[in-house]
Amino acid sequence: MNARRRLLALLLCGLPFGALAQGFAGLGTTAEGFAIPERGRALTFPADHGPHPAFRIEWWYLTAPLTGEDGRDYGIQWTLFRSALAPEERDGWSSPQIWMAHAALTEPDRHHVAERLARGGIGQAGVTAAPFAAHIDDWQMTGTPGKGIDQLHLTARGKDFAYDLRLEASGPIVLHGDAGYSVKSPKGQASYYYSQPGYTVTGTIETERGTVRVSGQGWLDREWSSQPLAEDQRGWDWFSLSFDSGDKMMGFRLRDGGPGFTSATWIGSDGSAKPLPDGALTLEPLETTTVEDRAIPTRWRVVLPAHGLDITVGAMNPQAWMGTSFPYWEGPVTITGSHTGRGYLEMTGYE
């Protein structure tokens, strides 16, 4: 299975098979022929909810920490990746667009993962902007016609889990960086990046233990680019945090040989977004857990002095490992310290 996974990984990043992958998931390779994000281009909706085939990589990324009627904490992830081998779309099998999706359901003691792959061009997977609909196989994220992405129906299922959720946005879309132009390194690598961080989620989750009604908060990230990472960047630690105060924060650190590159967006309870530059956010691993033979930081100290934030973020289930074609850690977290609340943490590039 391992050789196959490796092969898929290589295939997905469009590299010659057997060549050394650049950065995590080949995201650090150059983007010859592909479109490059430009500062100042205004995002337009609903068009930008749809795919951008001229860009090499794109994702629809939804995470939601949930609580069940049974009183237990849960978390779900639903991600659709688009990876282009060439900056174009074609009909049929010869389409150079490849789709990959990950779904996860995290329980305090278990973590369920499923993955889907599809060729573009034949209808097995794809996204339409209006009415909004994203799908791969039977997994879907479908918007109510006329409501953009404000009302979503989200489903996915794997061998041992399934979920069926309704999402209702309560605030506006948040543009990260410079009006959606999000810089990823001092060398200028960037992506288009916007979020809808304020969904109220209700629905059911199902495991072999049975079906449970759940509710919670959802966060959608939309990002596309052709070269989101610099060559020397090996991975990232990404946080989406919703505080009980109603404020929210998105923050990440891109790791390189040195101090790394950090970026954050503070989202007020009114939905107003304040981008913060490199260095404003400090992230400090407090504790690591051995997951799949690697040391993964599962307790963090997160400090953002500009907003009086000094918190400890801990994994709800430290074994929230995504054993997919590109393996990474992703799971719900609990916040204590100057602020309290819940959120999601993603860590990539830990070898």
């Binding site: 196959r4 092969l7 060549a19 081998l85 049929g92 099998w93 799908h135 041992d160």
Partner: protein, 798 residues
């Protein structure tokens, strides 16, 4: 003590190096032929298994459609219902002048991709988008190794070109079509049943063995039978030599026993010696077997590919199991051969009882008992065929017939000799016949070997030659059109058809679809309503008005294979698809194809399979004009050389494939005969020491040594001749069983039997040569024997 005794035992070989050679060579030959066949079988089987697993043929349940094509929309619909599936589109493709199997898979979902090392340096984009990449092994790629799309990969089985499904779609010109859909092992929870989602598709779980293995079983059974025959024949040699060696060392054994070596100890020593020899010979045999297998494998591979489409590489790998089984055969063989000698050794009295009872076996109870056992075996074989019809019964019957006949041989030969002796006039002649009867028990094993080898030669030769004659006649009927053309696309096909309409006497479209017939892969052909078929088609059974009924779409023709397998004959009905059943109006012979086949009228074919390509045509034209027409056609449509084949070329290549198929059989035949000749030689050498007391008195009474030598040669020739004469009816019986039982069960066709007396004469001469060569050495020895040596017989107490 042990050491000295062992050295004393071994000293024999220094004095009799020829016996050592005979013993080791005999055992090595037996092991060699056996392991050659085993190696070929194992290699072929391993190839099927590898091919099956590499191609995902055994990757789990598979969805297929009764008409052979699944729209890719169905695939997407099932995917969107949550099912984890992998689509496959495959079909024949002409590459480098050969027809190969193009397997198109979705590289994202296919569970059995080549190892990634084969892919290093290749951009995924190139694989997924036009013109695509073609993955093939070196053997497969021979004809098109200049193709820029080619990627060599040893993981892809022979005869298969693996590619992305998008590329396959374009190359096969079947957009939006799939051949089958694999159901992947891991499925999400709570899926709707496939039967509800796609009732038109059928889900089949792959059988434990792949198609190829199933189809080729009979071929391998054939080979194994030949291997066992070779082994048996080889054992005769060893048996003879082992007997001789034990006999000659009798005085030594006696002396050792008299000197105080316990019988058990001595037996163990002899066993150890035998084991050592067996291992040495076994190793030698393995080397021999490897060489023979390596020499024959390419032909076997070609046969399996040509006849069954079974993928077999031409290379041979050394398998530990093969080595072990070869050595085991050598040891078991040596044990069998030496058993009698060792048994005699265990019971050896210390005090000699001189005078060997030479006569009793041949004329007495021995031969009669053997003959009775032989008759019983033949009867048992016959009963076996009655009780279990089919291949197994056929082979049991063959085994019974051959072994039984071999056991009957001593009595029959003795009877012949007795007859000759009675009719002999002169004293020398009388003596010679009488003397041969004395010799017979010692020679009968070797003669049995010769009988088996000759019978196998006659039987298999008759089968192959009959088959070839029938096949040639059948080719004439089947290939009635003067030219055969293959277009690149349906459009070009239509254009060619129009173009030819005014230039040729007739254009006969050749259209076919792959279908499932009675649960096995089969073919559906469309036949044009034309005199060419009405006059030539090789029908072996038919109803009146067969062609009119087929043309009207009321009836179908089926091939002999299907007819015999499913017992369908004119008047019965054949189910072509769940909703399509036709009356069988005729059965035609169809050699060189193990699959079942149904022929219907072209309109009927197109009605049920609108997608069948229309690219191949037979062209009827005045033979004198065919060459010019082919040239014009090629020019007008810019067709590649191999797209137009004339009848003669097609026949020639068909016959070439046919001949290749039986190269192995021929080679094994010759080897077996050689081994049998060698068996006679060792038997004669074995008898040598016992010969002197027989011939010395005759010499003393006035025969010259030269005369004695000549007589020795004549004796051997006469025995070979008698055996060859007796082998003829046995061989013909064998041929009859092969043609009427084995072939029907293995291939599904019955062949008429033809007789080839010229071949028998050739074989008779070969038998004489074998007998003559075998006796040449003893005869020469006798001729050169110093008189003093002969005199000692009279002077010395033995």
């Amino acid at each position: 003590m042990t050491r000295w005794a062992f050295l004393a035992l071994l000293s024999h070989w220094r004095r009799q190096p020829l016996q050592l050679v005979a013993m080791i060579l005999g055992l090595a030959l037996a092991t060699g032929l056996w392991s050659a066949v085993q190696a070929i079988n194992a290699e072929a089987r391993a190839s099927y298994a590898a091919a099956a697993s590499r191609l995902g043929l055994s990757q789990g349940p598979t969805l297929t459609s009764p008409d052979g094509t699944i729209p890719s929309d169905t695939y997407v619909a099932l995917r969107r219902a949550g099912w984890q599936l992998s689509p496959v589109l495959e079909g024949p493709i002409r590459l480098g002048g050969r027809t190969l199997r193009l397997v198109g898979v979705d590289v994202l979902s296919y569970p059995a991709l080549p190892d990634s090392s084969a892919l290093s340096g290749i951009a995924p984009l190139d694989v997924l988008t036009p013109p695509g990449r073609l993955f093939a092994s070196r053997v497969t790629a021979e004809g098109f190794d200049g193709d820029p799309r080619l990627v060599l990969s040893q993981d892809v089985p022979a005869g298969v070109v693996l590619t992305d499904i998008g590329t396959a779609e374009a190359l096969l010109d079947r957009p939006g079509a799939l051949s089958r859909i694999l159901v992947l092992p891991d499925q999400p929870m709570g899926l709707a049943p496939l039967a509800d989602l796609a009732p038109q598709l059928s889900l089949s779980s792959p059988s434990a063995t792949s198609d190829a293995a199933h189809l080729t079983d009979s071929f391998h059974l054939n080979l194994t039978a030949f291997g066992l025959l070779s082994f048996a024949v080889g054992l005769f040699i060893v048996h003879g030599t082992a007997g001789l060696v034990m006999e000659q060392r009798r005085p030594l054994f006696r002396t050792l026993r008299a000197l105080g070596l316990p019988a058990r100890h001595l037996t163990l020593l002899v066993l150890a010696e035998l084991l050592t020899l067996a291992l040495i010979a076994g190793l030698l045999g393995l080397v021999l077997g490897y060489l023979v297998a390596a020499a024959l494998l390419p032909d076997v591979a070609a046969t399996l590919r040509g006849l069954y489409g079974a993928p077999v590489e031409g290379g041979l790998t050394l398998r530990p199991l093969w080595v072990l089984s070869g050595l085991a055969m050598a040891v078991v063989g040596a044990g069998l051969a030496g058993a009698r000698g060792i048994w005699a050794l265990v019971r050896l009295p210390i005090l000699a009882s001189s005078g060997m009872a030479l006569r009793s076996v041949a004329s007495g109870l021995g031969a009669r008992h053997l003959a009775l056992a032989g008759l019983a075996l033949i009867l048992a074989g016959y009963l076996a065929l009655r009780l279990m019809p089919g291949l197994t019964g056929g082979f049991v019957m063959l085994a019974g017939l051959l072994l039984g006949a071999a056991l009957l041989l001593p009595l029959l030969v003795d009877a012949c000799l007795q007859l000759c002796q009675r009719r002999a006039k002169g004293p020398v002649a009388q003596w010679v016949w009488a003397d041969m009867r004395v010799q017979l028990p010692g020679l009968s094993l070797a003669l049995m070997a010769l009988l088996l080898a000759l019978a196998a030669n006659i039987g298999v030769g008759t089968m192959v030659s009959s088959f070839r004659l029938t096949f040639t006649g059948w080719l004439d009927q089947r290939l009635a059109s003067e030219l055969y053309v293959r277009a690149a696309s349906d459009e070009q096909g239509a254009a060619i058809e129009r173009w030819l309409a005014s230039r040729a006497d007739a254009v006969l479209p050749l259209r076919s679809a792959e279908i499932t017939l009675a649960g096995q892969p089969g073919e559906l052909y469309g036949v044009a309503d034309h005199a060419t078929y009405r006059q030539n088609w090789p029908l072996i059974a038919s109803e009146p008005g067969v062609w009119d009924r087929v043309a009207a779409g009321e009836a179908a023709l089926i091939n002999e294979q299907l007819a015999r397998r499913e017992n369908l004959w004119p008047g019965d009905t054949v189910t072509i698809a769940p909703d399509w059943t036709l009356t069988v109006a005729g059965v035609y012979s169809d050699y060189g194809n193990p699959k079942g086949q149904v022929m219907v009228s072209i309109p009927a074919l197109v009605a049920h399979h609108p997608e069948v390509p229309n690219r191949r045509f037979g062209i009827r034209v005045d033979p004198a004009k065919s060459e010019a027409l082919a040239r014009d056609l090629r020019q007008s449509f810019d067709l590649p050389e191999e797209s137009i084949v004339d009848q003669a070329a097609l026949k020639a290549s068909s016959l070439a494939i046919f001949d290749k198929t039986f190269v192995v059989t021929g080679a094994l035949n010759v080897l077996t005969l050689g081994v049998a000749g060698f068996a006679i030689l060792t038997a004669l050498l074995t008898l040598w020491t016992m010969r002197l007391p027989q011939v010395a008195p005759a010499w003393a009474l006035g025969l010259t040594r030269a005369q004695l030598g000549r007589l020795e040669l004549c004796r051997s020739l006469a025995l070979a001749a008698i055996t060859a004469l007796l082998a003829l009816p046995l061989g013909l019986a064998l041929a009859w069983v092969l043609l009427n039982v084995i072939n029907v069960a293995a291939f599904g066709w019955r062949l008429p039997m033809y007789l080839f007396p010229a071949d028998w004469l050739r074989l008779f001469l070969l038998a004489l040569i074998a007998g003559g060569l075998a006796a040449a050495l003893p005869a020469r020895r006798l001729h050169r024997l110093p008189p003093a040596h002969l005199l000692r017989i009279f002077a010395n107490e033995r």
